[in-house]
Symmetry: C2
Subunit: 589 residues, 2 copies
Amino acid sequence: MLRTHTCGELRIDNVGEEVILTGWVQRLRDKGGMLWIDLRDRYGITQLSFEEGLTPEALLNQARELGREFVIRVVGKVIERESKNDKIPTGAIELKVTKLEVLNAAKLPPFMIEDETDGGDDLRMKYRYLDLRRNPVRRNLELRHRVMRETRNYLDGLYFIEVETPVLIKSTPEGARDFVVPSRMNPGEFYALPQSPQTFKQLLMVSGFDKYYQIVKCFRDEDLRADRQPEFTQIDCELSFVTQEDILNTFEGLIHHLFQKVKGVNLPKMPRMTYADAMRLYGSDKPDTRFGMQFVELNSLVKNKGFKVFDDAELIVGINATGAASYTRKQLDELTDFVKRPQIGATGLVYARVNEDGSVKSSVDKFYAPEDLAEWAAAFNAKPGDLLLVLAGGKDKTRKALNELRLEMGTRLGLRDKDTFSALWVVDFPLLEWDEEMGRFHAMHHPFTSPKPEDLELIDDRPSDIRANAYDMVINGVEVGGGSIRIHDRRLQEQMFRLLGFSNDEAKAQFGFLMEAFEYGAPPHGGIAFGFDRLCSIFGGSDSIRDYIAFPKNNSGRDVMIDAPSPISDAQLDELHIKMRNITAPEKK
Amino acid sequence: MLRTHTCGELRIDNVGEEVILTGWVQRLRDKGGMLWIDLRDRYGITQLSFEEGLTPEALLNQARELGREFVIRVVGKVIERESKNDKIPTGAIELKVTKLEVLNAAKLPPFMIEDETDGGDDLRMKYRYLDLRRNPVRRNLELRHRVMRETRNYLDGLYFIEVETPVLIKSTPEGARDFVVPSRMNPGEFYALPQSPQTFKQLLMVSGFDKYYQIVKCFRDEDLRADRQPEFTQIDCELSFVTQEDILNTFEGLIHHLFQKVKGVNLPKMPRMTYADAMRLYGSDKPDTRFGMQFVELNSLVKNKGFKVFDDAELIVGINATGAASYTRKQLDELTDFVKRPQIGATGLVYARVNEDGSVKSSVDKFYAPEDLAEWAAAFNAKPGDLLLVLAGGKDKTRKALNELRLEMGTRLGLRDKDTFSALWVVDFPLLEWDEEMGRFHAMHHPFTSPKPEDLELIDDRPSDIRANAYDMVINGVEVGGGSIRIHDRRLQEQMFRLLGFSNDEAKAQFGFLMEAFEYGAPPHGGIAFGFDRLCSIFGGSDSIRDYIAFPKNNSGRDVMIDAPSPISDAQLDELHIKMRNITAPEKK
């Protein structure tokens, strides 16, 4: 190679050696006849030194003309530093340079290549290749690599086999919107990019592959929110001859392995919570269990005392914000404003402080006697200094709003530390959810999820109450993975499609191959998929998956660095048998 | 799990244990009051036994009703077999079944699930999930998994970092045809699927990632030949601060590692051959060096003897088919027909046999005296029993034709054994190739390949003679990988684009981001990509990459199992701002 060592490699033991280094000029200091350069590569920083009088003048001048981010190659002798730097592994030595070659010059970067940069999001995305030079960004991708590697180590150790499934597949209307690819060789027809390899991994089970996994790109043409990307990566897994319990244990093991190997953290056994309990106690199917503050339902305690808001409400439910009794009027007003935001939608907030003497002071004192409030405090197991926050209204909406308030209070009270990890399984999801707009059921997970056998009798009268053999893994309030035991019986699968409003013809056209496969000896099987980008962001302690993707797209689905998507030529369109509809000019990029 | 053991696990030591197995019914034998079933899963086969009189009648009847490929679960006791089967690891024991549960019935498969099947290609592709049950097919994918795993082990060990690059990128007219994806959010614009992550991996070098790899899907919308797939997998690599020699050694090491770990084969050091030598000695830039039969040029020997064909030819060149002097007239006629095929295009074949007495008998005896022919034999270093085969004509075309003939003779003489491996590097490729049709130069590798500095002076007068820092790895006549040292200087890259006929605007519109990146401190870098599917096929000894892909497409780019591509709805087209051109009805599938 053009170097003998990397910039992270030299130590005091190397003193006296002649070495060659290559890298980027991070910083120059020219002071009192000495010139120091910090030379950087992926592996670290090594200090180069030049000294007036000792260093030949031509070389010194050459060094003085270097700019930040110049790529250079230096030959020199390793010497012990006078003032050592304990903060970096190479801090005991420096390189006394005898030869310098500029491999490439560099214009002044549009933002500082430092851990803390002055570059805004847009600028850093346009020059992502420079942003990737910064340590925190590079470390995120190194973390991603480690998580990927340890995932494979764990699964390979359990005899899983990684199989690549196709990217050019078939569009199906179920689920999110597909990206499609016009076929040149098959005029009028399109491939779709997979939203997940679901049907293929099930077919691999029919094939007897027994234990499959794949770390695989998936695609969804959805309107992008902050934490969504049109292309994302999944750890996709499927097993045969398993029960739900086998799957939970296997993949709890995976996450334990990853935390151990990547973070050095030993997670405790993950509790299992039913969907019903999660909704009742946290108002969410992905509860952040780093902190308690579980919901307490007050219906039996607070009705019929003359407070119309509670009397009319389907559900009155609150949380105990432990130790927050000192909240000021202003802070309480902020919380009220918070819950009244349109996206949260509560009509108001009732609060009650537990004073130091044990007495309770509430915002509804005129309806409730001190002894009533004492009963509230007891229901919340509240102590002096606690603040009770109560919402009322329709059940689903109120739980949802209180979930938001609980998370807000968790944040305000510092209970959501990024270095604390709380993982659990949420199980027994409903099989179906009712789509008000479409007037029909949707599969809550997907149409291949099996119902619990004991709930099948509800299929005609109370289909909403059927529970599925479905499960999600939740860490710190984020759903990191989910899966189910699948249907492996053709008749049950047909029944499921009917329930979801498919005609027989539609079901056959779209999933005929899968249902036919079920007739040739399909084993019982189930699986799970983890959102790999999100998992990495949790390991790294970031809220954004974008920080863990080398070349992410922005919220309009654009790669602003390469400027994609972009128009294509008429000849390309012709070959693909398509033309553009009349459209207004493409939006300004 | 639903089982205690797999079907490949039980041994003589397990005798006496009560176990539970699950799997597929491979075979039933009902004879003399005994019923045996071979139960199969991914891991092996275990024999189940039932015995009239001992096995409860209901259970026996239940077992007798099983069909091939039924999925069952059995409880039983491991007993020692009376007649052992040495051919399978479980052959010393069998399972005396006490309980049987049918997990799923199976229709009669459309072809035999056996190592040798009666199913034709089309049928096996339509029911690929059944084809994948067959041992040879499953073993191919297990091999693929191992090659993938060992590739990662090797590269991780050298501090390469795997980085995922985007799948939704930008269409560029250079190279093969792109698959494109209409953007819903950016009307009138399209993403393209990557033909390779070329520009991204170069940007990662600009970012200082130093050593990158990725095992990654790539896409080419080409007319499919037998050994092409629209989506294929690459081992994609790039390194900074390296010379060509570093790259050759690093990746020769990878292939050595893979052969050692996956095949148990120790390959010798790979010779390096220049492109010019490869063309001169083998008429191909991917010579099959499992056998010699190098070209011998005869121009100086055979001209001006009155044989017009040779006198008029630019090149007269032949091979020595060692030991083939006994070829009959009929066989020689076959060879003549072979070289005259339109796709080979020779006008005729001259041959000369070396007889046992050392005399030479040729098809052109009337032009050449015995002493002339003796000179031929000497030039070929021919021995009694050898057959010389000579072609004549234009240089390029004749070399190409003789390459085909050489390979044909290699096959006929049994010199192309699939278990023999001969690998080499072909280096010093030309930078450019002239495209007669377009009347301009193409980049032989791609436009980012760097010219050899010492050849740069030829740029104005003899650009065709510029050699590139480009290299291919060839195994058994197959190009398994190729790469180059890249350009990392903006001005040289611009010069290259001009040479390839790009206007400044075109170059900037398509690759402006890369050229801009070169101005911010781009290190010298280079890389390589291996065709992963092809590499697996070589390991497995097959001519077809399709055998190593779980769900391949046919020659029309169709997945006949899921029936993709397929029409999409008008609503989808509308959302994507496109419509179909008037086309004739989609071809019959």
